[in-house]
């Protein structure tokens, strides 16, 4: 199968600018990334904010040079032959405010289509059809400054698809959207991919459910390194041996993640503080270990409000690989 994207030992180091007296600091954003994405694949990059996802997308879209290694998109080296890559790609980022507020939706989309040499009349026909598909044809003549965040993002999504790229990069495309708009966007993405088997889509997200629902394969990335890469099903099967419990409790009264992991047969623990207490996610080798955890709660005067056993998710895979949840990782994070 031919490859749409290929990276080999790809790395990127940022030199951070400080005051003149300070020595220049370096930030390793990507390190030894080896990935292959097949043509026709919907490939997901999953990781917390600051993991290096956006840096990787910037390299693959020719916006940034790698510090080491190489990357190819649609068969061309992104650093040495950007002019061969650019006509064949497009990119949409979540929360972007591209375009001009004084132009209408149709005018903005037409303008961007012209930068790719698309015939004007065909672009206008396509804009109308795509806007209808994404459910905003009635807003075609609305100034983009008058659009809500969700509609503006839908317009950006159409911009990315309008030029019919071979490889499309979606960087957190559903960031900040409401549930309905998210559903529309995901449906649109899948329809676009199904329409032509040669099309490839690379999606970055930190929404686990989005990755599970959409992606053929997922790479889990953290601190610039790819920790695992496989289908969502295969990744989750790694954890099938463990029983996973989700427990909602009253405030933890000093109970730490380490105390939980120190319990026999507790392999992983993640804690998320909530308004009323905490939400724990525990991986147990044997279900019988749950009794010891409950006993620990009793000693600390912690009340169990809710307890569920559930199938593993990609979040559990992340916890398994990194040792803590994505939210905890983001809290300790670094700039992306």
């Amino acid at each position: 199968m031919s490859l749409a994207i290929e990276t080999k030992d790809l790395g990127r180091v940022y030199k951070l600018r400080g005051s003149k007296k300070e020595t220049r600091k370096e930030l390793i954003a990507l390190q030894d990334v080896n990935l292959t994405v097949n043509k026709g694949e919907l490939f997901g990059l999953l990781g917390p904010n600051g993991a290096g996802k956006t840096t990787l997308i910037k390299i693959l879209t020719t916006l940034l040079s790698p510090s080491s290694g190489w990357a190819k998109v649609a068969g061309a080296d992104v650093d040495r032959e950007p002019e061969a890559v650019r006509p064949r790609i497009n990119m949409v980022s979540g929360g972007e405010s591209s375009g001009y507020g004084l132009l209408t939706v149709r005018e903005n989309l037409w303008m961007f289509s012209q930068f790719y040499g698309v015939p004007s009349n065909e672009a206008n026909e396509r804009i109308e059809a795509l806007l209808e598909m994404i459910g905003m044809k009635d807003r075609m003549h609305t100034k983009s400054s008058d659009l809500s965040t969700g509609l503006r993002q839908k317009m950006n999504i159409v911009r990315g698809f309008l030029t019919q790229p071979e490889v499309l990069f979606l960087d957190e495309p559903t960031l900040g959207l409401d549930v309905g708009a998210m559903r529309d966007v995901r449906k649109f993405v899948l329809e676009w991919l199904r329409a032509d088997k040669e099309r490839t889509l690379l999606l970055t997200t930190h929404y686990m459910m989005e990755a599970e629902e959409l992606c053929d394969r997922v790479a889990i990335i953290n601190k610039g390194r790819v920790l695992a890469c496989d289908t969502p099903t295969a990744l989750k099967q790694r954890l099938q041996k463990d029983a996973i419990f989700e427990i909602q409790t009253s405030p933890l009264n000093g109970l730490s993640q380490q105390m939980l992991v120190d319990q026999p047969e507790v392999t992983k623990a993640a804690i998320a503080e909530t308004e009323t207490g905490a939400k724990l996610s525990l991986s147990l080798v044997e279900e019988s270990a749950l009794a010891r955890v409950i006993n620990l709660f009793t000693q600390k005067d912690i009340k169990v409000m809710n307890l569920n056993k559930r199938a593993p998710t990609l979040e559990d895979v992340f916890i398994d690989l990194v040792g803590r949840s994505m939210a905890e990782e983001e809290d300790s994070g670094q700039p992306e």
Binding site: L64, E122, R126
Partner: protein, 287 residues
């Protein structure tokens, strides 16, 4: 098959332009927001017509109080009209790439197959046409209110001077756009600092012949200085004696400035684009 072809997700485009056709398409598309979009915000009538007219009125009343020759009123009206171009270049054209970066458009321009030079030219062409509307309005308004009489010496030379002035001025604007992107707020402060002295040195409201020679020569690096001087000589036939240099000399200098500014802006833009990709700090506002 028909069903397949009617699906906008599957139907391929008949072709995609490349080369000079793509270059032209890009210029037209990027000029569109300024030529069409910008006219929708009617506040420009106040900021770009009425405010410059206040300055014009002030100078007209000063000259009339001093019993200056009536041709000076025409000088002032023309200066007021040309002010629109200078302000457009200084505050809109120069800051455009910086603003595009903040909006997230710049990275989309870079990853598109078009030339960045075409994007800049599109901004310039859009700026010229949008500002021309303002300049013409100021001229008509000033002419009617103050009864200015024009005596055109040579339409051909006038067209050549205006065209070269615009090419050189917007070439300089394109150069400044890359510089603003590179230096950010520091360049903004310099532009702010330069605005008023340039009104003086370029002779927006008086003939620069009255300035010390080297001050006028230095100010001639700004295309509007020689452009306005030549146009005044061509539009008010009695004022040839007030010209700084002969019209022919000024046309040659303007042609030289046009080429120089366009070439420098091309190389500066290429340098900025290279820096953007190498250091990643031009397309990212947070680093």
């Amino acid at each position: 098959m028909d069903n397949q072809n009617s699906n906008p997700l599957t139907r391929p485009y008949s072709h995609k332009d490349i080369g000079w056709r793509l270059f032209l398409k890009t210029i037209i598309a990027r000029s569109y927001p300024r030529i069409v979009g910008q006219q929708r915000e009617l506040s420009w009538v106040f900021f770009e017509i009425l405010l410059p007219m206040f300055a014009v009125c002030t100078y007209v009343f000063v000259y009339r109080a001093l019993n200056a020759p009536e041709e000076y009123i025409g000088f002032v009206v023309m200066g007021g009209a040309m002010t629109a171009f200078w302000l457009n270049v200084l505050w809109s054209m120069s800051s455009q790439l910086y603003w595009e970066k903040q909006q997230g458009n710049l990275q989309l321009y870079i990853i598109a197959p078009n030339s960045m030079m075409a994007i800049l030219l599109g901004m310039a062409v859009g700026g010229i046409f949008a500002t021309l509307l303002r300049a013409v309005t100021v001229t008509i308004f000033g002419t009617l209110v103050f009864s200015v009489k024009f005596e055109i010496v040579s339409y051909l030379q006038l067209f050549a001077v205006f065209t070269l002035t615009m090419i050189a001025l917007y070439g300089m604007g394109m150069m400044m756009a890359s510089a603003f992107l590179l230096f950010g707020r520091e360049a903004w402060h310099i532009a702010n600092l330069a605005q008023e002295p340039i009104f003086l040195a370029s002779g927006f409201f008086f003939p620069i012949k009255f300035l010390p020679f080297w001050v006028a020569a230095g100010a001639s690096l700004l295309p509007l200085t020689l452009g306005m001087d030549a146009m005044r000589q061509l539009v008010f036939s009695s004022e040839t004696s007030l010209g700084f240099l002969s019209v022919a000399t000024e046309i040659w200098i303007l042609a030289g400035l046009s080429v120089a500014f366009l070439v420098v802006s091309k190389y500066l833009l290429a340098y900025v684009e290279k820096l953007a990709v190498r250091e990643g700090r031009i397309t990212e506002s947070r680093r």
